[in-house]
């Protein structure tokens, strides 16, 4: 197997194992971050969020046709 591919697959296995054991802890810092974001002027009622879906749509359209090209060795 290509050593680079093997390295990537090993990384994915490690990430999978980490995800199984990970436990998220709520912290006061995170809660204060959420409060700060909620308090932003652009997050008050009446704010226009039309750009949100368009940005995500553009992102997924950009990457949906990505193909892995063989490396020239």
């Amino acid at each position: 197997m290509d050593p680079e591919l093997e390295r990537c697959l090993a990384g994915l296995r490690e990430a999978t194992e980490f995800a199984k054991s990970y436990r998220f802890e709520m912290t006061d810092d995170y809660l204060s971050l959420l409060a700060r974001v909620e308090a932003m002027p652009q997050n008050q009622s009446g704010a226009d969020k039309s750009h949100v879906w368009r940005a995500l749509h553009a992102f997924t359209e950009t990457f949906k046709n990505v193909r892995l090209l063989p490396r020239n060795t």
């Binding site: 995800a19 199984k20 990970y22 436990r23 998220f24 709520m26 810092d29 995170y30 809660l31 971050l33 959420l34 409060a35 700060r36 974001v37 909620e38 932003m40 652009q42 997050n43 008050q44 009622s45 009446g46 704010a47 226009d48 969020k49 039309s50 750009h51 949100v52 879906w53 368009r54 940005a55 995500l56 749509h57 992102f59 997924t60």
Partner: protein, 173 residues
């Protein structure tokens, strides 16, 4: 291209349907522009345990050209109050699909919250000129933590990291 949720939001509004956008799609509405958003295929709408409201929500989906599903089966007809009562008894989720690959889950459960509590602190954002009722970001996050699924835990860790990056950008205040 316009947001696929807007036509449904318009139908909800015309029928006075009470709902809250929750989940990842709801959290995305709060992300300041430079911050990364999270790709999701579906929109989670939290509805109260109110049969009339649910019947109106189904009618709105129908008017928006969407199909309704209960699990893998099309939702039975007539989609009346009797059926809504049965769905509410089971706190079952109905899914509305299409057009434009739109997938909307009409859920009666937001883990850790009753509808009225979340409703009182909602934000009314605008999407293509249509008001979209959205739960507070803090409520969305706390609900995800209460749900405790692996995908929620990973979302929270990533979301927290992305917000922490904002602390380094004072111009966002």
């Amino acid at each position: 291209m316009s947001d696929p949720l807007a036509p449904l939001g318009r139908e909800f509004l015309s029928r006075a349907v009470r709902y809250l956008l929750i989940g990842v799609a709801g959290a995305n509405f709060y992300a300041p522009r430079p911050a990364p958003r999270f790709v999701t295929d579906d929109w989670d709408l939290f509805l109260p345990l109110d049969a009339d409201n649910l019947v109106h929500a189904w009618a709105a989906c129908d008017a928006a050209g969407m199909e309704l599903w209960l699990g893998d089966e099309p939702l039975d007809r007539p989609r009346d109050r009797w059926l809504a009562d049965r769905i509410i008894e089971r706190a079952a989720l109905t899914r509305a699909t299409g057009p434009d690959d739109l997938k909307v889950d009409l859920t009666l459960v937001m883990k850790g919250f009753d509808f009225e509590t979340a409703w009182k602190e909602r934000r009314a954002f605008l999407v293509d000129g249509v008001q979209i009722s959205t739960a507070r970001l803090t409520h969305i996050v706390q609900s995800k933590q209460a749900a405790g699924r692996q995908k929620d835990q990973l979302f929270l860790a990533t979301h927290r990291d992305s917000l922490e990056q904002l602390l380094k950008k004072p111009e966002l205040d």
